[in-house]
Symmetry: C4
């Protein structure tokens, strides 16, 4: 599974605007690059002389069995990649046996995504809007549609400045809309339409108290996504979060933010097992997944590679990415002498 090559192919398939929206990041894209590099800098110290004749990549996330500790990151606007959009992704995640995180900014409604793969586990990623009534309604819709957890994104009080989208004055093309919101983005002349939307609609005043508020709305566990510090993670868990997702939003928000790989140990130590810890950003290989597990993650989220899979091969393309990562992870677990995700320990990483 050569994801660099897959991205190269996707670039030829997608419009310039769409490719830039998916691939780009904030400012100088220092963090975009560092996310990938941070995993590569780590070195593994594999065990030998351990029976690895029976390897499994299966684990659980919040108690839900998954075939591999790789979840589908919440990503907006998936119909830019393939016509069926988030519905295709939902079927791919189901086929691969993992959880899809569905974005508030999906181009297929959360109900239609659910209907595309009714039996599969799914979590709903939430951007709290200033209109709290509408936000509450959205949360209730997700619960009603069978979503099993809420993933509260906390690193987007304002949208990061993404030079590619600004230059492209990027907005959704005709025929696509933010289906959960029920409208398309504005046509803009000289800025990112999403940045305009975020500045008008998103709530920049979230605090730990909002975790409580969310938990009061529906009976679903809440994960907090976008944490890069142990102290913040502890606050979130104290406020009732069932999980914390270490993330810098794919390098799309604060350029210069620490990578997920580098932030993970601090968060894992602070959480100390009181909640599950996840990480995203730059995961491109099965060995990256092993490194994430070693540093304290329950699972990783993968984003852009699935978009490249969707762009090049639709639903099957996304399945291929997940299956490829599963095969790589199984091989990496065998070669590390750790036949299950639970066997992976901190000292697999060289100091």
């Amino acid at each position: 599974m050569d994801l660099v090559e897959l991205e190269r192919r996707a670039r030829t398939v997608l419009t310039r605007d769409a490719y830039d929206y998916y691939a780009g990041g904030a400012d100088d894209e220092v963090t975009v690059a560092d996310n990938v590099a941070a995993w590569s800098r780590l070195r593994l110290r594999p065990h030998v002389l351990r029976d690895v004749s029976a390897v499994t990549t299966a684990t659980t996330v919040l108690g839900t069995p998954v075939e591999l500790p790789v979840l589908v990151a919440p990503m907006a606007y998936q119909r830019l990649a393939t016509d069926a959009g988030e519905a295709a992704t939902a079927r791919a995640a189901a086929a691969a046996g993992t959880v899809m995180l569905v974005s508030t900014l999906a181009t297929v409604s959360l109900e239609d995504v659910a209907a595309a793969a009714p039996q599969a586990p799914r979590w709903f990623q939430l951007y709290v809007h200033r209109d709290r009534g509408w936000t509450e309604e959205l949360v209730r819709r997700a619960a009603a549609a069978g979503y099993r957890a809420l993933v509260l994104t906390v690193d987007l009080p304002v949208l990061g400045y993404r030079p590619r989208d600004e230059r492209n004055a990027f907005s959704l093309p005709d025929g696509l809309e933010m289906a959960n919101v029920g409208r398309t983005t504005a046509d803009t002349e000289d800025m990112s339409a999403l940045r305009l939307y975020a500045s008008q609609e998103m709530d920049a005043a979230l605090t730990p108290a909002d975790i409580d508020w969310l938990r009061g709305l529906v009976d679903l566990p809440v994960l907090v996504k976008g944490v890069l510090r142990g102290d913040d993670a502890r606050l979130a868990v104290d406020a009732g979060a069932a999980g914390v997702i270490v993330s810098n939003h794919g390098g799309r928000q604060l350029d210069g933010a620490v990578s997920g790989a580098d932030a993970l140990p601090d968060v894992a130590a602070a959480v100390a097992g009181r909640a599950e810890v996840y990480v995203d950003g730059g995961v491109r290989r099965g060995t990256d997944v092993v490194k994430a597990l070693a540093l304290g993650a329950r699972a990783v989220l993968v984003g852009r590679p699935l978009l490249w899979g969707l762009a090049c091969g639709g639903e099957q393309g996304a399945v291929d990415v997940l299956d490829g990562l599963r095969a790589e992870l199984a091989r990496a677990l065998a070669l590390c002498g750790t036949p299950t995700p639970d066997d992976v320990t901190r000292d697999l990483i060289a100091p």
Copy 2:
């Protein structure tokens, strides 16, 4: 605000001599490059789940309110960039709501700079000349013209060797003069005219006692600019300095000198709140400003980017640079969970 792109455009607008004078540095320009790289090497650990619905970049410098903790660095010869020179910069700084530091080597007289934006706060950057009588007169002129502080530059006992200016035998073109000094630079055949001037006129014997001397001349606070060590900063504050500016003169004096970003923590620790600490060199992004605040700076000084702004767009070009940095800083503060400059703390920087 892509300042790299802005510099590229400025390079096409300016004469070779002028561009080289502005862009160049000492010897191999190792420190010029390191100034920018040092900020980029630092990684941020942003906070989340904090109310950042009301962000402000406003702060005070020596008690003077400014709209952003970004001051205009003292730069010589601004009429090389735009015809109105320092007068344009003064109007730009006033429009952006910040303090301009006016150079002894300005190409517009300090009185004319003051007249260009009479209400705005302004500090006078002083090169002490061997002719102490003339220097004293210059200081009194600055006080009379309403300048609110003296910025004593201490890192130029001799001028650094700047290969570009030597190769160009750079001197001021016809029609421009060092307006405070009241004369143009000499025509030279094979060296920098400014280096010749400095070797003949500048005082290489400054000591902390000269801070006392300056304070006795006029009733203005004195800042010391060009400090890169904690022990020197302490001496300056002991001698009565109200502020210390961590600076390697934009890499134009001692090549191989430590960058401002790397020197700042030592200076801030030594000063320990007894005076205000500033830093310059290589600041190109709002996130760089956050990093400087985190490491102990009250504000940063920005230099070359304003020259590129002046060259490409005159006064408005300089306003655009300052406004761009303010917008970036506001976004960075929001994304760091620190709604005001005072909220920024040391631990925002990853160890």
Copy 3:
């Protein structure tokens, strides 16, 4: 001896498939590159004012005298490089006065390799197959043919994914076979034939108990090859291993695994003299050998460079590589003030 230049020439001589099989590694080949780079990063602190008029590179390995502490690494498929294959290598090793490690996957039978240089010392590298009866027979054949030690490879429970071989659907060309196994590899359409073979035949359940089992079969010392951690090395020695070979299989198994150079100190400290320690991976210069000795190795194994020698010059080409390394090592020992391998100590390496 410029081994980079030698590889360049070999590349023009070999088929693309063969060159890729020899040169390639797992996934992104990060570890392939790091193996070489890790030695280069180390700096030597040579001694002076020591009598080095009589330098010797001679030493012993498991009590067997060798002319230099450089052994021939076990490598599969040597007839891809030169028609006589492993027989040529055996004669070259004998001529150079060192030990050849003969691979289970040789393209000349272990008996024919032995016959090619009957007097020379030789160790047999063993892949334990699931068919333990056949494996036992293989071990007895090696003992009967005069091999003096068994080298148990423990880092190949599954074959690493090697993109070059997968792309080439690499299998042995007509006329070549795995001579010890008595068959050729399968023809495959879209994967490495060796990976298919390994997945079907190799035993992924090895534990320290298998070292005991091996020692019970024949009266030969057992070395364990593929160890990268001190704790694993200690387990192997506790189970009766006479030696441990620090190796990541030339970067061909787990990409991102720590280099031999970086793993060696931990292993040497854990073994603490209870067994001999060897290392392979990236050794290209006599100074690399000195570095390995300084970090605790008894000797190094060299692999790919011998294949380039075989490809460019057959048996004599391999002799030239070994003689070249011996000359470089002798010079390096003289320049380090350490006239024999035993004089090399840890503090030759700069901290």
Copy 4:
């Protein structure tokens, strides 16, 4: 003084063989490059607010006054660069007010070098040959010719392998000879003639006792050149050395050896003021000289840049290099707030 540009020009003036002999180093030339890079990696923490109106670069070496702490390194074969060879260098060193170290392998006899600048201080660099009688005679000739110290080179028991010279089968061209030895190098077909000479003639059995032996021959102080470790330096000083020169022979002997800049602190600490410490290798700027002084050197030796000066401008070219370094050093001392070499302290270097 742009020494990189000067080398570029010298390359066009010199024969390929001569340029390669001067510029080249051992094996992969890792240490050649690291010598220069090691100084560049260091960062300076200059002092300000110190009176530097009177700067001097003058100092003493072994009690001899010199105008600058930059000596002329001993270099063989200077007539390859300019017809007058070492005589030109002697006049240049005298003009610049510093000490020349004259090589055993000079192409002008030590007596003729002395006659070229009779009043100037000069040290004789000694390679001890196996023929001790001849070596003794050479030492007595140096004393008789007024040389003031012996510089015993200890890092050349054998000659390093220098690929450029081997490829060129480099030997002295017709008309040039090793004038002290009284003969030319052999014509060789496929190796460096100097390596052949060294292997036949040089003594590889030097020990600290030979320092005693040398001191008994003539009444001159002995410096030991080629030390890279504190323990060796201490042995040399215990044996009576008046000085130690930290050097890896310009990267020409042991590739991968630590740079002079990186080895200097350990040596300076071990010697602890009991002898003078010098350093060479990669010094290209006045700021490099300051760094060397800060790390404990009394002075530096400069080599290759003088050859480029000789090649481009003969005697005057060498004077220009020394004068250029003196001017750079004076400027660097002023900008560091350290008006004399003795004012330079360890903490000028950033940790």
